[in-house]
Amino acid sequence: MIATLTSWRRRFWPKGKLQSYPWLLYPALAFVITRLVVFFGAYLAEIALPSLSGDGFWHAVPDNIFLDVWARWDSGFYIKIIEEGYLFVVGQQSNVAFFPLYPLLVALVDGFTENVVLAGIVVSHLSLLIALIFLYRLTYLEFGDHGTAQRSVFYIAAFPTAFFFSAVYTESTFLLFAVATLYFARRRLWAWAALMGLLTSITRIVGIVLWGVVMLEWMRVQGWTLSSMFHPQAWRNLFQGLRRDWISPVIISIIPLGLLSHMLFLYRTFQDPFAFKTVQSAWGRQNLGPVAIVLQDVQLLLEQSLLAGEIWWHVLIDVFALFFALVMAVLIWKRLGEGYALFCLAAVLIPATSGTGSISRYILVLFPIFMMLAWWGRRPSLDRAITITFTMFLGIFTAIFVNWVFIA
């Protein structure tokens, strides 16, 4: 796919200034192509396929299908947060489960668009575009290969659940701040990494993981890693690093301030600083631990009939996504280091402690996975396989999503 796009670019855009900025050109191409696909795919699916209707299947912008299709399921909670503020209804699914940065950004843009769904879509797409740029640059930084960087942005933008990047969801925003955090950390711009990490932590709860990841990266720079922690020299390196640069860990520790601010707000407003966790049970989530959760889901799937189609297919997809992420985390540890791997592990294991639901969406923002796939995609056959598989399922999943069938 990349080769095809490159040849098109050379044919229609043989010489130009943008060619000097591949970190801008290829993310923009990936963005435009995949968004055109999902936008028109979603529109077509909405008008051509029978959609679920009735109570609970609402339409935020019924007179504009292009916009309306991107407000489904959890989008309603974000819209409610913006329109009515946070609500905490114990025992019921309430919007306090969702973090504030995305609604705040959408509310900001809504001041201009005067259409909250349009504002959400604008925020999501702007975030995605910038996130792809950062991902391109981070991938290039890690692998020193433009081809790998190009593939990484296309793979993530064409992932089967990548339609969430266009929806009134936090996927794009989270991806932007998470990948930017790692990018600045790898560039040893600790204050910028702290800023981005802070923003990530108020986008989703798993964003707080980046505090540890950035700190690990700083320690790695000093000569201490998890794998070398049993060597005295590693600790000597760490202490020397602390004497030399104690300010950086302090600034990195700013990252949790965003989450703490949110928790303080929840405490003052609802007397429960962990309200976002308290309401999880309303979504059927129980803290049983990932092993018990997976065993429970696998047992459930084994009791159903795959061949007869009597199966909870989204559970099947989520369980597959969980295993995929865990395997990839091991491979990422070997190639990209522990920081990336721990980010991936934590980002799937934290939600998996209470359920595998929506894991296929959660792995969408685990950009190290796409960096690794892009590295392996140097082999054209694998690149084609990934491209075809991803784009095909992206179309199918988009059609399912816009017709109010729950995917993730």
Partner: protein
């Protein structure tokens, strides 16, 4: 980074002072982000203020209510046939809040007509909600069916949405409330009270949340609401006379627990709300007629346990089973017009109390009950009917109940009873269901030690009033009896005994009744009279009997043995006109009784087999008509 430039690096490269770009700029942005976040959270994303669209007085018949302006706390709400209707799944707690907010300084009344379908768990009122879209920080009053019991549960939702019970009271309403019941709450400045069908059930419940939104509440199944009224409540419109002042403390609220008695009958209207500020009953304890000696064996001491683990321990009568409802024990003697004084201590949990006017010492049916509620919020009282279903007669809050000793006293005459706890009068003039009987003790979900049980004669200064037929609660044991205007008539003409219980058990009394025997058909052996000193209302074992026989040509008397076979003690021939009612008078005193017919003594000093018991009217072959019934209880003169 060959061949590729970072945007930040580009900025850094263009800056004369990279330190600004690397540190100061991002740190400044962090400050801005935190400011943006906090400003946004508190000013943009905090719960938005909701306007109050309605004002009081507000009256809604639910004909064309714009429900779009209301706030549903889950569930589907719709207008249907002039009512507001919702469907809730079992276990669901639903609500809807009207866009009506009342300021904290405004006392108000909120009421609605509820039709609770048979499958629904309950329904009620929400009030003083601090925010119209959540239950947290609100009050709730709900009629609930829990384990087959209809109960009124009042309480509030704390900031975490947990319901905290303030009072749980069994209510004498049928389980099927689809016929409709009116639930009202009067919200004052510091307390509130609740009425069911215009009868005060609980009062002086402290308000935790002051002012707020009002709403409707439902739990499981279908409920209909109609006639929602919210209006100002003026202090002079208190639904109970003399607003209570001294008994105002509710217990430390605990999680909701239910008491188990079943409620089926309508609510009587006791003068609840009477406190120590009100005059005490006119009765004063007289001589002690029973004082419990809690030593030895239960049965030897005259106590009959029928549920629970009862034993004498260190001079107390103790029930140790802390799990289970309606544990009970009765004393074998029958009392009437007495003061029952019981000292008790809760050893584990709360739920101790007393039974009185029991028809039998070994069962709760037909007994009156007064006990502490399971949640320790107060005491409640009522009676068990013949099926064992509990009929609530009232509730009164008490200070927090602990393991400290309490003195519970019942004053009961022939018509009403009064309740005193720790020398504080909680209720008086409560109608009696059964006028005399055994006394007993009870516990529910608690272990309780009863340190003393004493029964005193009441010194009323006069003989208890004469009782007429209309004042009795007659209970048909056999035959077909019809009562109207002081006359009762048995119509079955089969040649056998038919009984109707007067509902009175007594020891000494004068009974007089006019009896008109059958005057048509085969009347040669018709008869009518009285059975007395029955061990229970429906048992003739060892009971005495006196009646006319042979169409009024004779009167005879005797008793029934253990097999209910009649054993004669005597008889006399009387030549009476069968077409005219004859007066039969029975005087029971000490160990003998005397019989008179039309004022002439026909039998005297007839020995009694038992000292006390229930009284019934007897018809042998109908129709037999009884009229001018009178019963004078107490110390009688021959």
């Amino acid at each position: 980074m060959s061949g590729i430039k970072s945007p930040i690096a580009s900025v850094i490269a263009g800056s004369k002072n990279p330190r600004i770009i690397e540190w100061i700029l991002p740190l400044g942005l962090i400050v801005l982000v935190l400011a943006f976040l906090n400003l946004g959270l508190y000013r943009r994303l905090s719960p938005q203020p909701v306007p109050s669209l309605y004002t009081i007085p507000y009256h809604d018949q639910f004909d064309d209510t714009p429900l779009g302006e209301w706030y549903a706390l889950g569930g589907e709400w719709e207008l249907n046939e002039g009512t507001l209707r919702q469907f809730a799944l079992p276990g669901e707690e639903l609500g809807i809040v009207a866009p009506l907010k009342i300021i904290g300084a405004q006392p108000y009344r909120q009421s609605t007509r509820l039709q609770i379908s048979e499958e629904a768990d309950g329904a009620g009122l929400l009030f003083n909600l601090q925010y119209p879209k959540v239950r947290q920080n609100s009050h709730s009053v709900r009629l609930m069916r829990l384990d087959g019991v209809t109960q009124l549960i009042t309480g509030y939702y704390d900031p975490f949405g947990q319901f905290v019970s303030q009072a749980t009271v069994p209510i004498s309403l049928p389980l099927d409330m689809s016929g409709g019941v009116t639930l009202s709450v009067f919200v004052g400045l510091e307390t509130y009270l609740v009425l069911v069908d215009d009868q005060v059930v609980v009062h002086d419940i402290p308000l935790v949340n002051h002012g707020g939104w009002i709403g409707l509440d439902a739990a499981g199944g279908q409920v209909r609401y109609d006639d929602l009224v919210v209006e100002a409540w003026l202090p002079e419109e208190l639904p109970v006379a003399d607003t209570p002042t001294s008994v105002t403390t509710s217990s430390e609220a605990q999680e909701s627990q239910s008491t188990r008695p079943v409620a089926t009958a309508e609510i009587p209207s006791p003068d609840i709300g009477q406190t120590s500020a009100v005059e005490a009953p006119q009765y004063a304890p007289g001589s002690v007629v029973y004082q419990g000696q809690f030593q030895g064996e239960l049965t030897d001491a005259g106590w009959v346990a029928f549920a629970g683990d009862w034993a004498f321990e260190a001079g107390s009568l103790v029930q140790r089973q802390s799990q289970g409802f309606d544990r009970g024990i009765g004393y074998q003697e029958v009392f009437d017009a007495y003061l029952l004084r019981v000292n008790l201590r809760h050893l584990e949990s709360v739920g101790g109390g007393i039974l009185f006017n029991m028809s039998d010492p070994d069962r709760k049916e037909n007994a009156h009950l007064v006990r502490f509620t399971d949640d320790g919020a107060g005491i409640f009282w009522g009676f068990f009917d013949e099926t064992g279903a509990f009929n609530s007669q009232g509730f009164s809050p008490t200070p927090p109940v602990s393991t400290a000793p309490h003195t519970l006293e019942i004053f009961t005459d022939q018509e009403t009873y009064s309740i005193r706890l720790d020398e504080q009068l909680h209720a008086q003039n409560i109608p009696l269901n059964t006028r005399s009987g055994h006394v007993g003790l009870t516990t529910s979900d608690s272990a309780v030690a009863f340190d003393s049980v004493e029964v005193y004669n009441l010194e009323t200064g006069q003989q208890t009033p004469t009782t007429g037929l209309d004042l009795l609660e007659l209970d048909i044991i056999s035959g077909e009896w019809f009562q109207e205007e002081g006359v009762i008539r048995q119509t079955v003409d089969e040649a056998t005994d038919y009984l109707v219980s007067t509902g009175v058990a007594a020891e000494e009394y004068v009974l007089s009744v006019d009896i008109l025997l059958a005057d048509e058909g085969d009347v040669s052996d018709s008869g009518g009279g009285v059975v007395f000193h029955m061990p229970s209302p429906d048992s003739k074992q060892n009971a005495h009997m006196v009646r006319f026989g042979n169409a009024g040509q004779e009167v005879f008397w005797g008793y029934y043995d253990a097999d209910e076979a009649f054993v004669g003690q005597g008889g006399a021939e009387v030549d009476l006109d069968p077409a005219v009612a004859q007066t039969l008078t029975l005087l029971v005193k000490g160990s003998t009784y005397k019989i008179s017919v039309n004022g002439e003594t026909v039998g005297a000093d007839i020995p009694l087999q038992q000292e006390t018991g229930w009284i019934s009217l007897l018809s042998y072959r109908g129709p037999v008509t009884f009229s001018n019934f009178s019963l004078s209880l107490g110390d009688v003169n021959p």
